[in-house]
């Protein structure tokens, strides 16, 4: 059963941050910044918000979650492991040959992971899929909800706005779109690469309701989702303001951490900053067994 005490959720988010760092140190490839920034959102979704059954990922009554920005998957894999969809030790296989944890996510029936409904990685496609799924569920008279998480850099893709228009037109109110608003994309800050503002006004103009919150404040994010669930007649966009690289001082709010893993030294430093939790790591590195604890500055 999921834990819903705020302090427990925060402990879980911290552990997921440690998991992300360790996964990336092992894979030596993958995205650090976005996943760390989303640990709170994913913890909130999978341990509080979503109606799901990890033992039966295809459960008919489940809420559907789509990760449109597939490169953020390290946080998804860590969360799925912590929630019981996949074994914890499978996190050592990120981006490895013959594994299921593809560099960008694929569904179980393709050779990916249970809990993943559809492939993503090429940006901008997930919202269309989520809209289609929400319309399909509504046609079947089902009350399941659909959630779609998008990156803010991803909003440069025209298809996002095609899908936004479709959702607004069809008044798809069983859909909640979450935008990871961290102002960072590969090349630079979003303001430099492609200015998205006024972002809330854009979604409103496409006939969505818009809510904003601090996406690194777990309690606030859960409350905002509850508000979104109560809104009727329109799809809802939640602009979740986060910091890329949250939890690791030298990564925080720095777009250069979009697509690179930490080096061994950087990983060690990151793990020191994100102190261990009572939940325990999925792997203990050799150096952790012999290392003398170093004081964090």
């Amino acid at each position: 059963m999921p834990t819903t005490e705020l302090s427990d959720l925060q402990e879980m988010a911290r552990q997921i941050r440690r998991d992300i760092i360790k996964m990336l140190m092992i894979s030596k490839s993958g995205h650090s910044g976005g996943p760390l920034g989303l640990a709170d959102v994913f913890t909130a979704l999978y341990f509080d918000v979503l109606k799901i059954d990890p033992k039966n990922p295809g459960w008919d009554g489940r809420d559907y979650f789509f990760l449109s920005a597939g490169h953020l998957c390290p946080v998804w894999y860590a969360t799925l492991a912590r929630r019981g969809y996949i074994p914890l030790n499978e996190l050592t296989t990120l981006r490895k040959i013959n594994g299921r944890l593809q560099g960008h996510p694929a569904p179980a029936y393709t050779h990916g992971v249970p809990g993943v409904e559809i492939a993503s990685g090429a940006l901008g496609q997930g919202l269309s899929v989520a809209v289609g799924c929400a319309i399909g569920l509504r046609l079947s008279g089902k009350r399941n909800r659909v959630y779609c998480l998008m990156g803010d850099g991803e909003l440069d893709e025209g298809q996002i706005w095609e899908a936004a228009m479709t959702a607004g037109h069809h008044k798809v109110d069983n859909l909640i779109g979450i935008v990871d608003r961290n102002h960072c994309q590969i090349d630079n800050r979003t303001e430099k690469v492609m200015d998205l503002e006024p972002l809330a006004a854009k979604w409103k103009a496409f006939n969505w309701d818009v809510l904003e919150c601090n996406g690194n404040d777990l309690g606030q994010f859960v409350e905002t989702v509850k508000q979104a669930q109560a809104l009727k007649g329109k799809p809802v966009a939640i602009l979740a303001h986060t910091y890329m690289g949250r939890g690791v001082s030298f990564m925080e709010d720095d777009y250069r951490w979009h697509g690179v893993p930490p080096s061994e030294e950087q990983g060690k430093q990151a793990l020191l900053e994100i102190s261990p939790t009572r939940l325990g790591d999925f792997i203990e590195f050799e150096w952790e067994r012999v290392a003398v604890p170093v004081q964090v500055q």
Partner: protein, 320 residues
């Protein structure tokens, strides 16, 4: 004596539209996505019959493919339809990731394919779609030769667990297949048996091949005609058998010569049973405006072109 007779002209796209309504009556999960050309691709029939199951996405083909994928995830049976060029060229990345890689059983039904769409000109003449779709893993590709076969093919997609691309045409074209003939994806129909040469055709070129055979049979050439309605997975057995028994292959299609039916047949021959092959296809060029049949003639896609190709390959066969 003609072995096949066309008593009427009817569009393949009409067969598609009518069958959608039948399937809609039979299965409440059938849904249709519209991209603002519903009257043209004949999904208007479904829209009128089942307005609640008709989902308009506007002129946004990329969104259409993604929305179709989501509907499939939710357990629906989506048919996404627009003009060939916009069903394939525009949303390729969406088809690749959200449908093919994700292996979702969406039916992409494209009308107005080939050069015969005519007056609209090159921008609307989809001549690359078979090649583009055929290269995708998990994707099935098929093109019916007439109205009756379209009806059976559309119905047969209901049994597919993978995505499929179907290719229809705008014009009213000869209706000549037996409505009671069996249809199986991946199993070619041998329409006329012969031992000198085999014409392997798909779509509108199947009828052109029949017309060509009438001319050639009078000259004593025994032509085998295979309707290769499924281009992927291709009926390798039928291709190899034809190569073994007739020793010469002509392929015919309303498509570019690179990567289409001709390419698919050549791949089988090269690997399994090398034989000389002639390609009746658009010769690496874009089309232009004009009447559909005039364009078929000008771009060497009609029965005359097939007769020429057969004569040519018979000469090559002698020295093979």
């Amino acid at each position: 004596m003609a072995k096949f007779i066309s008593k009427e002209l009817k569009a393949t796209r009409l067969g598609f539209g009518e069958t959608l309504v039948e399937l809609g009556q039979e299965n409440p999960n059938v849904v249709v996505l519209g991209g603002d050309v519903t009257g043209s691709v004949r999904t208007d029939l479904f829209m009128k019959a089942f307005p609640e199951r008709f989902i308009s996405v506007g002129v946004s083909e990329q969104d259409m493919m993604g929305t179709a994928a989501g509907l499939a995830v939710a357990g629906k049976i989506p048919f996404a339809s627009t003009y060939g060029e916009f069903a394939v060229g525009r949303p390729f990345d969406q088809i690749r990731q959200s449908l093919a890689y994700s292996e979702l059983p969406v039916k992409i039904c494209a009308s107005h394919c080939g050069i015969t769409v005519g007056p609209d000109g090159a921008t609307h003449q989809s001549l690359e779609d078979i090649a583009i779709m055929r290269v995708l893993p998990h994707m099935n590709v098929a093109s019916p030769c007439d109205y009756h076969q379209t009806k059976k093919m559309v119905r047969a997609t209901m049994g597919l667990k993978q995505p499929v691309y179907l290719r229809f045409f705008r014009d009213n074209t000869p209706v000549f297949t037996d409505p009671s003939a069996e249809f199986t994806f991946g199993k070619a129909d041998t329409l006329i048996d012969g031992s000198d040469v085999t014409v392997i055709a798909c779509g509108l070129q199947v009828w052109e091949a029949i017309l060509a055979e009438e001319v050639l049979s009078k000259e004593g050439v025994r032509v085998r005609i295979i309707n290769m309605h499924t281009i992927k997975p291709i009926d390798k057995e039928a291709v190899v058998k034809a190569a073994k028994e007739t020793g010469a292959i002509v392929t015919a299609e309303d498509h570019q010569r690179h990567g289409g039916l001709g390419g698919a047949v050549a791949e089988v021959l090269a690997e399994k049973y090398p034989a000389p092959q002639e390609f009746v296809a658009v010769n690496d060029t874009f089309g232009e405006s004009g009447n559909g049949y005039d364009l078929m003639k000008k771009y060497h896609l009609d029965s005359v072109a097939i007769v020429d190709a057969v004569r040519k390959i018979l000469k090559r066969k002698k020295y093979h």
